[in-house]
Assembly symmetry: C2
Homo-oligomer: 404 residues x 2
Amino acid sequence: MSKLDVKFAGLGAENAPGQEVRQNSEDLKSIMRGDVLPGTPVDFSHGDVDAFAPTPGARDAWQDGYDVGGAQAYTEYRGDADIRAQVAGDLAAFTCAPVDPVDELIITPGTQGALFLALGSVVDQGTKVAIMEPDYFANCKLVRFFGGEIVPIPLTYQGSAEENGPDLAALEAAFSKGVEVCVFSTPNNPTGLVFSQHAITRIAELAAAHNVTLIVDQLYSRLLYSGETYTHLRACAVRPDKLVTIMGPSKTESLSGFRLGVAFGSASLIERMEKLQAIVSLRAAGYSQAALRTWFREPDGWMAQRIAQHEAIRDDLLMIFRKAGFPTATTQAGSYVFPELPDLAVPPETFARLLRVQAGVTVTPGSEFAPHTANSIRLNFSQDHEAAVAAAHRIVEMVERYRA
Amino acid sequence: MSKLDVKFAGLGAENAPGQEVRQNSEDLKSIMRGDVLPGTPVDFSHGDVDAFAPTPGARDAWQDGYDVGGAQAYTEYRGDADIRAQVAGDLAAFTCAPVDPVDELIITPGTQGALFLALGSVVDQGTKVAIMEPDYFANCKLVRFFGGEIVPIPLTYQGSAEENGPDLAALEAAFSKGVEVCVFSTPNNPTGLVFSQHAITRIAELAAAHNVTLIVDQLYSRLLYSGETYTHLRACAVRPDKLVTIMGPSKTESLSGFRLGVAFGSASLIERMEKLQAIVSLRAAGYSQAALRTWFREPDGWMAQRIAQHEAIRDDLLMIFRKAGFPTATTQAGSYVFPELPDLAVPPETFARLLRVQAGVTVTPGSEFAPHTANSIRLNFSQDHEAAVAAAHRIVEMVERYRA
C-alpha cells in the first residue's frame, strides 16, 4: 500500500452514519438467527428531520435569501456580514461572553466543516492533539488526515456525577508533554455527558498555563434536559488565548439539510479558518446562510417543547435498555444514548449490520468512538417517539438472539 | 514564524475574489491620481447572478427537495442516488463517455469542493504536481496545503491557434521526472483558452504512459462560443487509469448560491474523495442538491441565448481593451478576459485596489494566476452588458492616469 492508501484506509467510512446503504448484506445470510422482526424501520444514525421538523420559518428564510440575489450568493468566505452580526449577538448572550462579528466568527458548511477548518488551522505533521475517548469519531480521523499525533484522554461516563468527566490528571500530563491542541465535545458525543463546571474550569486553566489551543464542540448545548446545568468554557475567568467554540443548527433545530455551522473565538484562528475555507469550498451555501436568521429566534415555547419531547423519548429508551441489563448513562444533553451491550456471538460491527437487515434498525457501532467501547452502540433518539420505543425493544430482542 | 504560520501565509486570500470588502483603503489616499470616476459599480471578480439569473426552475427544485424531507437532508456523502443517476446520464452524453452513477460520480460543495477533494485524494507530502501557468489560483494553494511540490508548465495563450496551449515537451519532461499528478482547467481560467484536440490527446497519452493522475477542471465547458470546438479528455481513445473530470452549475447556470459541483471518473478516486468529504463537510447541502435536477434540462433555447449574450459582451470588451493597446486573447469559452496592462506607476495589486476605490471596478490581479502575469487583470464578464462596457472604459481611463 502507498502512503496515501494507508492514509485513506484510516478514513474508513463504511460504518459511518448514513453510509450503510453502500453495504452488501449477502454474507450475513449464513449466520442469521431467526426471522425478520417486523416494525417501522428507524435510522438511529442521525436525527429524523421528518419526526422533528426544521425550525419554523427556515424554508421561508431560504427563499428570502434566494430573492436577495447576488449579494446572498456571493458572501465573504466567512459568511454574510449582516447574518454574522445577528448570530454573534445571539451567541454572545447564549455563551455569556462577547463575540466580535467582524473578526471572531465564521459561518461554515455544517459543524463538520467547522471542525475540519479548526483542526486544519492548528494541526500539521507531528502536532500532538489530546482527544477524549470516547468522543465524536471524526476528531481522530481529522487529526490523522492532517498528520497529527493523537494523545488519548480517558473519559468516564458511566459513574456518579463526581466520577464522570475527563481524566484531568492525564490531561495535565499530556499538556506538559507537548500537546498543542485539545478538541472535545460537550455535551459529549456519543454519551450525552455534559462536562461539569469543575472540569471545564480546570481544562481552561490547564490550556492557558500550557499554551494549548482548545476546540470545543458545543453542537448539542441547547438541548439541555431538566435539572442539568451547562458551563460555557469561553466564559471562564481564565481561558487560553487560542480558543474556538463550535455550534450549529443541524441537530436540535433540524437544519442539517442546509449544511450550516459556526465557529467563534480567537480572531487569529478564525482568519486561518477563512483562508482554508477559501480553498475547501469557498463558503457555506449562500442561500442556506439565510436560514441562520431563524436561529435563536424560534417561536416562544418552541424550544422548551422540543426539549420536553426529546426528554420523554430519552426516559423511555433508558428504561428499556436498563431493564434489559445494558449499562446506559443518562443523557444530560443532546439526543444520543450509548448503551453497552453484553458479549455477543458475532463481532459488534456484524451485529450492527444484522440489526439493520433483520430488525430495520440502524445504529452506529461503538468502535467508531473509542477502541474500548466496541460493545456499545450509539442511538440518535431524535426520532418518532413510538417508532423509537418499538425499535429499542427490537434491539433488546436481537441481543437476546445473538448473546454469546 | 511557525511552520503553520508559513503554511497559512501561502494561503493568502486578501486579493482573492470576493474578499476585497476586508481591505482597508486609507493608505491609498496619498497616491491617488484624479477624482472618482462615476458609473455603476461592477464586480468582475465573479459573475453577477442578478444580471444572469439562475436556471429557471432551480428555486422550485430546492423547495421540492426541502419538502422531500429527511431523505433529501441526509443523502449519502457522495450525494443523492437518484440525482446522481440523472446527472451521470447527462454528463455521459455531454462528455461522450459513460459515467457509472453508483461508483464514478460524487456531488460536491461547489467545484471548489471537487478540486479540494480530488487533490486531497492524490497529493501528500512531497507529491510532485504539474500545474499550468497561468491557471486557477487555488490549484497552487491546494497543492501547497497538502504538502505537494509544484512543477510549473508554461501555457501560451496570446499566440496563434497553433502556438497556444501547454508546453507539451515540458509536460513530457515533468512526467518523466516523477510528476504523479497533473491538474488543469479547460477552458483555462483566467485566459479563456480551450485546449486543442491535439493537446488534450497528447496529455491523455502522456499521462497513461507515465501513470500520472489527471484532474481536469471543465467548469466552463458549456459556455462555448461560436466557431469553437471542445475536446473532452475522458472521451480520448487512450487515457490514464486515474482521471477525474470536474464540472458544476455555478457559472454558466448561475447556481453558485447553491454550492454545487460534481466530480466524475475513476471509481477508486471517487471513493477516496467521498471518504475525505465525510470529514470535510459530510455532503453538499442536501436541499441544494435537488437543484441539480434542472442541470442539462434547461428550457429550449435558454443555453443558446445565454451563450449569445456572453459572446456579445466578450466582443465589446475585446474591442475596448485592444483599441487601448492591451494585448488580450480571445476568450474561446467561459466568461473571463485577461487583458495585459502596460507598466504602471503603482504595483499591480495597488492598481487593482485603486480601480475599486476610484472607479468602482473590482478585478482579480494577474499575480494570483502565475508569477509572470502580474501585469494582467482578470475580468469575469458575466455582468450586465451596459455596465460592463462602461466599467471597461473606466479601466482604460484609470490605466492612462497611472501609466508609468
